[in-house]
């Protein structure tokens, strides 16, 4: 009976560490996996939201072209009349110019807002994705999601629209030929899984050559459909 107990204990002692190791690996993989999924989701929602806002801004800017063209024509007419030097015609020209200045301010404001969002949104997406990874990792205290452990990069979009005529006060704005390409915003992050582990386990994993790199990214742009619409893209290197 004693022998049997001894045998069971030995078998248990041999199998238990194996079982625990496999279970721990699966748990760790699960945490990494959910952290990565959440980060991708957060990033995608962020860039897609930004591009949705930007697509609306672009469509609005294009819709404003009709009024911009009308103001240009009105000014041309007023300038022709003002050439006679009649005070009424000069006053009318000044009124048209004032109207143009006000309209131009609206165009520029929209453009400035869109360019600012195009520049900042990828960084915000990256920051949120990395914060989400860190937050998920708190569930698994063994991971060290410090700033050095994860590195990331963000690529801003250009909101590349061209004024036509370029020097006019109220030009028409149209997207450049490479607008969709230049408008792609992307965020990318990567971490060496081994770096997240506590030092004693890290050494073991590195010695066994088991360290793997985990990478994530998200990207979106604006494409011409019936109107300009946001679209997810496959992140380019």
């Amino acid at each position: 009976m004693k022998n049997e107990n001894g045998f069971i204990t030995s078998a248990f002692l041999i199998l238990l560490p194996l079982f625990v190791a496999v279970l721990a690996s699966i748990t760790a993989a699960y945490f990494l996996f959910t952290a990565d999924s959440r980060a991708r989701q957060v990033c995608r929602v962020e860039v897609l939201n930004a591009q949705t806002t930007l697509a609306k801004d672009l469509n609005r800017l294009i819709d404003m072209n009709t009024q911009a063209a009308a103001l240009r024509a009105k000014r041309k007419q007023a300038e022709a009349l003002a050439a006679s030097g009649q005070p009424q015609a000069v006053a009318a020209l000044q009124a048209v110019i004032a109207e143009q200045i006000a309209f131009s301010a609206q165009q520029r404001l929209l453009l400035m807002k869109a360019r600012l969002l195009s520049r900042t949104a990828p960084s915000v997406a990256l920051t949120k994705a990395m914060a989400s990874i860190r937050k998920s990792a708190f569930g698994f205290a063994a991971f060290d999601f410090s700033a050095e452990a994860i590195n990331g990069s963000a690529h801003s979009a250009a909101f590349d629209v061209l004024p036509s005529p370029p020097t006019d006060l109220t030009p028409n704005y149209r997207p450049s030929a490479l607008f969709t390409r230049n408008q792609e915003m992307r965020a990318r992050w990567a971490f060496d899984v081994a770096k997240l582990l506590p030092p004693w386990l890290r050494r073991l994993v590195q010695a066994q050559g088991l360290h793997r790199r985990s990478e994530g990214d998200c990207s979106a742009t604006i494409e011409k459909g019936r109107k300009w619409e946001p679209k997810m893209t496959v992140a380019r290197p």
């Binding site: 049997e4 248990f12 496999v22 279970l23 699966i26 946001p230 496959v234």
Partner: protein, 128 residues
């Protein structure tokens, strides 16, 4: 010197019991690991399917997305076999249907759809 016969019998029965216990232990541990792997495979395939739907929502070709999901499944699931994989994209829907055999009759069947174009909460409906 010879052992009394009852000692020999006792030794034999102890060995048999120990062997049975060992088989039971190995069975329990293997079963536990198999359940863990099966659950992991399910979660991994769900994620791979979702990622391929996201891929289909981009301008990438269906074959590109298919290669991506195959690589992802190969990378994450060393045991098991992909039995079938179908990816489809229409103007307003991306669809995936896959069957993965973990072991003989232990087969996972996943089907997912995604409305296109993708929208976020800020823009009617929450698909992403």
């Amino acid at each position: 010197m010879t052992w009394p016969s009852h000692v020999g019998n006792e030794k034999g029965s102890l060995m048999a019991e120990a062997a049975l216990t060992m088989v039971a232990l190995v069975g329990i541990v293997s079963g536990g690991l198999a359940i863990c792997y099966f659950s992991f495979a399910h979660v991994w395939l769900e994620r791979a399917s979702y990622e391929s739907l996201i891929c289909l929502s981009t301008s990438a070709s269906v074959s590109t997305c298919e290669s991506k999901i195959r690589a992802m499944i190969r990378g994450g699931l060393p045991f098991g076999r992909l039995l079938s994989l179908q990816l489809e994209r229409s103007e307003n829907l991306a669809r995936i249907d896959l069957r993965f055999s973990v072991y003989k009759h232990a087969t996972l069947h996943l089907r997912q759809n995604l409305q296109l174009p993708l929208r976020t909460e800020n823009d009617q409906g929450s698909i992403l």
